[in-house]
Amino acid sequence: MEQFIQAAVIGVSLGAQYALLALGFTLIFGILGVVNFAHGGFYMLGGYVAYSCVVQLGLPYPVGVVAAVAAAAALGWLFELFLLDRLIDDHLATLMLTLGLYLLLSSGLLSIYGPLSMEFTFPVTGSLRFGPIYVPRENLIVLAVCVLAIGALWLILFRTDLGRALRALADDRRVATAQGMRPKILFPAAFALATGLAGLTGALVTPILALSPSVGDPVLATSFLTVILGGLGSLGGAALAAFIVGLVEAFTSVYFGGSIGALVLFVLVLLLLVFRPTGLLGRQARGA
């Protein structure tokens, strides 16, 4: 029983991290119709910016996190504005552009920080004890920040004019544009919002897991998995799927070990893609 609850706690905290990544990824796909291969790159960028602020400049950790969000959002905004926007309707071209950016970004980070893992630890340590169950404080803090960020994103998307405009563009770009929404301003904003979330996740999670130039690949694979499971472009689906993926990973690694859980999830996602490309909660497949 203790093992079960322990696994559930790990699963929920993994789920919250995945949700932040997947929400950004699905936001980009839903609004711009772009598959962002660079998502793992923005996660890494967030991690390294936070590392530089905290370890090299000696700033407090929260400042590092804010700087990481700002850096990832700024790069995302510039990339969308100057490169992606010109080819926004050519799905193969935008995909190649994000792939190119990812390769550049990871080899840029590699040349600055080197190939080794960084000594980057979470500023809060120790764990809380609830009877027989231990919960690391760092996981609780990350969970809290993730939940707050998801709440904030929900407020932005469903309670502000910016959010309404973004959702209108996701629903039907032509009608939304005719109604006065301006993709030229809103697309870079949406991309920056999403990459900022990836940067936030990187800054929060890399001190707990690991920070090296190769951490982007698994992040990309997990984002794919989650987003396809939830339905490409569906925000609610992404959040739900993130917690499913987190819990499945936690429970299978505790009870079976190895990567059998990931294998099951990937096969499930393959079948889902083929037979129900709209995912769990998606409404319609995008005409891509």
Partner: protein
């Protein structure tokens, strides 16, 4: 007079003849030089040539595939496992490395070819991830995370391909075979593939049985990927999961896009040049990925034809009087 109105399909286009000659010319390297570094670079480049052509065949139909490493692994591990039973005959193994992935691609193609565009990209990415996990989860068959080491050298007419020189000859042969297959397929179905690339719905409504050509392309692309896996395993004498991860797919896609997706020369020239460029980084090989990234950005934003397409456009501009017929 009617015959002059209809352009009769030629046996080979200029670019296709060029591609065959270029790959065949690689045989000259092991004959002319004894430089071990040149051998190793060319061997890697030729594996790229085979793999990139697999990507290119699918791109002919506007399908971007990340599944190449999965089929490479099927071909490579087939040979590695056969080696454990001391089956090393070159002809037999070449056939097996082509046929096993191709046969697996038949039912798989029936599943994934229902998808187009972005969804196809995603499903092939998922496929390559599944193959990685399968390799780790089947240690009895594939050696799991240890892979299969000490694979016996391939034999041809009773001769073991032991030296690097012999292995390079062998890879040249595989690359030439792959190029012949790719050229034959895309030449024979040139118009079919072109019409699918141009407008799939229109092609279908005009009576083209689109799924048939897509399936054929997918199966042959899988077979070529298997050959690339065979060449890789022959070079390393080891089959390891890390040789078949998604980075390999990204490399092949980079070779194809940067070389130029318009002609079969593109993936060939792209592989040869980029693998050579990677060697220029020397021990800093990991930065090659950054170079690929930068070149992809340049190709997609300003030079859509890649190296070959841009060179062809430049040639046309230099010779204004003549109209290109190819």
């Amino acid at each position: 007079m009617a015959s002059s109105l209809i352009q009769r399909p030629r046996l080979l286009g200029g670019d296709e003849a060029g591609a065959l000659i270029l790959v065949a010319a690689c045989f000259a390297v092991p004959i002319l030089t004894r430089n071990i570094l040149a051998y190793s670079v060319l061997n890697q480049a030729l594996i790229g040539v085979i793999g990139a052509q697999s990507v290119w065949i699918m791109l002919r139909m506007n399908l971007l595939s990340f599944a190449t490493p999965a089929f490479m692994a099927l071909g490579g591990y087939t040979v590695a496992i056969a080696g454990e039973y001391n089956i090393t005959d070159g002809f037999l193994m070449t056939a097996a490395a082509f046929l096993v992935p191709a046969l697996v691609a038949v039912p798989l193609g029936a599943l994934v070819l229902r998808l187009r565009g972005t969804y196809f990209v995603l499903v092939t990415f998922v496929l390559s991830q599944i193959m990685q996990l399968l390799l780790f989860e089947t240690p009895r068959l594939t050696g799991g995370s240890n892979g299969i080491a000490g694979i016996p050298a391939a034999t041809l007419f009773g001769v073991d391909m032991m030296s690097q020189r012999q292995v390079l000859f062998y890879t040249c042969g595989l690359a030439l075979l792959a190029t012949i297959v790719a050229v034959a397929l895309t030449r024979y179905f040139r118009q079919h593939f072109a019409s699918i690339e141009e407008n799939e719905i229109l092609a279908e409504s005009l009576g083209l049985v689109v799924w048939r050509y897509k399936a054929m392309g997918f199966v042959v692309a899988a077979g070529l990927a298997g050959l690339a896996g065979y060449a890789l395993v022959t070079m390393l004498l080891t089959a390891h999961p890390s040789s078949f991860d998604s980075v390999v797919a990204v490399d092949f896609i980079a070779y194809t896009i940067i070389g130029g997706r318009g002609s079969v020369l593109g993936p060939i020239i792209g592989s040869l040049l980029l693998v050579y460029a990677t060697q220029m980084f020397g021990t800093q090989g990991q930065y090659a990925q950054g170079l690929y990234g930068a070149l992809i950005l340049v190709v997609i934003t300003v030079a859509r034809g890649g190296i070959v397409g841009s060179a062809a456009a430049l040639l046309r501009r230099l010779r204004p009087g003549r109209r290109a017929t190819a």
